[in-house]
Symmetry: D2
């Protein structure tokens, strides 16, 4: 990787002026940038990953266009004999509420095991056929076309932190497919360790934020009672002065809706 929390601060300070530079001010600056979607300073940190992943995951992943990719090529090289299999607990029914995903409802264990066994048997069969096509001198780019979407590929993937946060926001989400979410979790952990302040701000202001639409604010307006904590209590909770002001602005926006 290139850069860390301090590179974000450095880039922001070229725009927003120098000022004093205590650690707490750096933290506040990064949180301010995240909160107000000043995204360009986060682009100054760059990550590169070497990833092995099933093709059906790769097809979701590659939709993130602002990144650099070099993938293993089944035209140049023989695809290795490696395929993804879900765990028995991972085999779920189609969700009823979420059209795109699997439900939380476990499928009965016999069906799950039968499914996994059949996947594996099929993968072995397809790889045998692949080998048989290759041994008949059929070009690699054609021999591979019946390999399954569960085949593993690998790539180098390089992306800046702003675009990585966008990737994480979408791929850590509960509606993302379980398999890509597992990768997103590991990447999130890496970012958390290497850019801890930026990652914390990302969690607070984006990942765990809740957004209310225009209409919802009309409802919220009548639900809000003035049981406000005191200014001191808010400071204690971790809000900065600036954030307290911003909070009051939001509440007054809702009240005036």
């Amino acid at each position: 990787m290139m850069g860390d929390d301090s590179s974000i601060v450095q880039a922001a300070r070229v725009s927003y002026g120098k000022g004093t530079k205590t650690v707490s001010e750096d933290r506040n600056l990064i949180r301010y940038l995240m909160r107000h979607r000043h995204t360009s300073p986060f682009e100054m940190v760059e990550y590169k990953f070497h990833i092995k992943l099933p093709i059906f995951v790769a097809r979701q992943w590659i939709r993130h266009r602002t990144a650099n990719v070099n993938e293993y090529s089944g035209r140049y090289s023989v695809m290795p004999d490696e395929f993804y299999l879900p765990s028995p607990e991972g085999v779920r029914k189609q969700s009823r509420t979420n059209k795109q995903g699997r439900s939380d409802e476990p499928i009965n264990i016999e069906t799950a095991n039968e499914f996994i066994e059949d996947l594996q048997k099929t993968q072995n069969l397809l790889y045998e056929k692949y080998n048989w096509y290759l041994s008949n001198e059929i070009a690699r780019e054609l021999a591979r076309i019946n390999l399954p979407l569960s085949t593993y590929t690998e790539w180098y993937w390089k992306i800046d932190l702003h675009n990585l946060f966008h990737f994480l926001e979408l791929r850590l989400h509960s509606t993302a497919q379980f398999e890509i979410r597992e990768y997103a979790k590991i990447i999130a952990q890496i970012v958390k360790e290497t850019c801890p302040i930026a990652y914390e701000a990302f969690e607070d202001y984006r990942l765990n934020a809740i957004t209310f639409s225009s209409l919802e604010q009309k409802i919220l307006k009548n639900m809000i009672q003035y049981k406000l904590p005191t200014y001191e209590e808010m400071l204690e909770m971790g809000l900065t002065k600036r954030e307290i002001e911003e909070f009051f602005e939001k509440i007054s926006l809702i009240n005036n809706h």
Copy 2:
């Protein structure tokens, strides 16, 4: 422009399945896409604008990278004798709260007029000098370097609707510079007329939405009373069944915070 509300629906239906296609379903689909940040269908609409704008505005505008631009060139052509001047009411003091902008506080009218007069006088002087440099056969690319940032340029600017919404979100914002906001307002009006459903969704779910951070939700939690409207009242307010469910999920997320 290319496409309209129906192109967004068409693109979404290729991903999310066909189903019936009444007008109200189209509207719900577009609103669902906007609410859940399924942004790619909005990329299927494309706008092209021919814009005349001062260089200091062009410098902010060009930061939106996902767009196509062809600008008037001061190397090929003589810059025209056109410069931006603010109106007297537009001349404001530096904001105390917003480091980057002007305040709502008007400056006294004499200073404002004096400022505008001096800007104009200076612009005339600079253009005279420019002409004098050119008449001395100095290359256009050099003769122009002392022209002011208030000089007008022009360009063709082409962008898809998703990226245009991002432009509008930033440039309609109260912290954007007044001069670029005026352009954003006109573009917003054009989008409103040509993609009315998408624009309305943009207003409801992005432009006028309010986002609460993790910490703010802790405060909100204690402020929320169960003075909820009934399900029927919510439907009457314009929320769909799906939105009502989503609203309850948000409230319960806050309550469990």
Copy 3:
């Protein structure tokens, strides 16, 4: 689509000045832009295609990042029972010279037919299994993971002409996989019919151009004899005055190497 040859001219004239506007001048301007890689005016034309294609082709295609895509989703919808099969003449041996491609050498017809038959039998088997998984209520996103790369998907694909030319340059090339080349040919035909001047310039200055490296120019230097056509002959061949000048510059660069 949005725009055509005239939009390229319109965009270029905003940069390079107005001048007279005869048809032949428009043609010369477009050819000049192409020759000198002034690419931005070509971005002012936008195409949108609705394409059905096998997943292994989609995976190559999606690598062109500067485009907008909405693809059929195997998470939302059941994948249809459609798979790609090569024609018997399309089944070729692995190329010896081109590591990534198939050779011109045909494989014997029995092997080819046997291969195609086996592909088809396997595709049927895999689709049966897919149906069986679905009927066991396994989530669509999991049931599909053993579908083969030859499964058809579909998408809307939107791209500007400059990036489309880049796509065509790579995908019309003899080293591109046969299957994507067939798509590229059809798209090329559409561009040729809708932006004929730009397409002709693309063919002359990019698709059929030959580039000599520094070292190669050293060899070429000694191979060039001054059997030059006359100026008039060159005009007759279709070169403009400007191109003739540029040709002499290239020859003199080689001679002075």
Copy 4:
């Protein structure tokens, strides 16, 4: 910066297979990638620069969209009193042949000096006025609008090597404005020192390459005599076996034109 020549090789090998890895093979691989426009491995190297530059140069620079930028903001901070002035030898007449640039023809020394003096005097005047506006409490974002295009700004600029080569190809070119070319030269020197093999390949196959159009090849065809060096002589000149084959293909393409 992140990465170097070896990162390009590493990324390419994930696509094109492992093989042996001697230094000469790495060089050949990088040159092969450059020659055949396999651009993605070059994206795996990332550079970040801190640059001070006049606004008229910044306006050309920013047109390279695939890069990350954080610029000094005249809304947040007072612009410093620093302006670009050309050297007397840099002051040139408008070019007659190149509509966009300055000619090689020097202007007489008196005019040049008078021009520079007047630029400087004007810059001082404009900065005085700027200060006067600020002291009248006029908002920074407005006070600056008559500052000249020669005002210095600064930014962090981050870009991958593939896009940097594209920047260098355009900005090292003789038709680029002198002032941006000077920056390009320094950046080229930095790239040469840090990715020497990639830079050499860029020079040989792109910067110093010559491209012949379809029509030009018709002329060249009759000018080419078979005074070919022997295979051994070509090897000695530095061409690899592969390049010699490619050279013969090009010559035969021209002969069959």
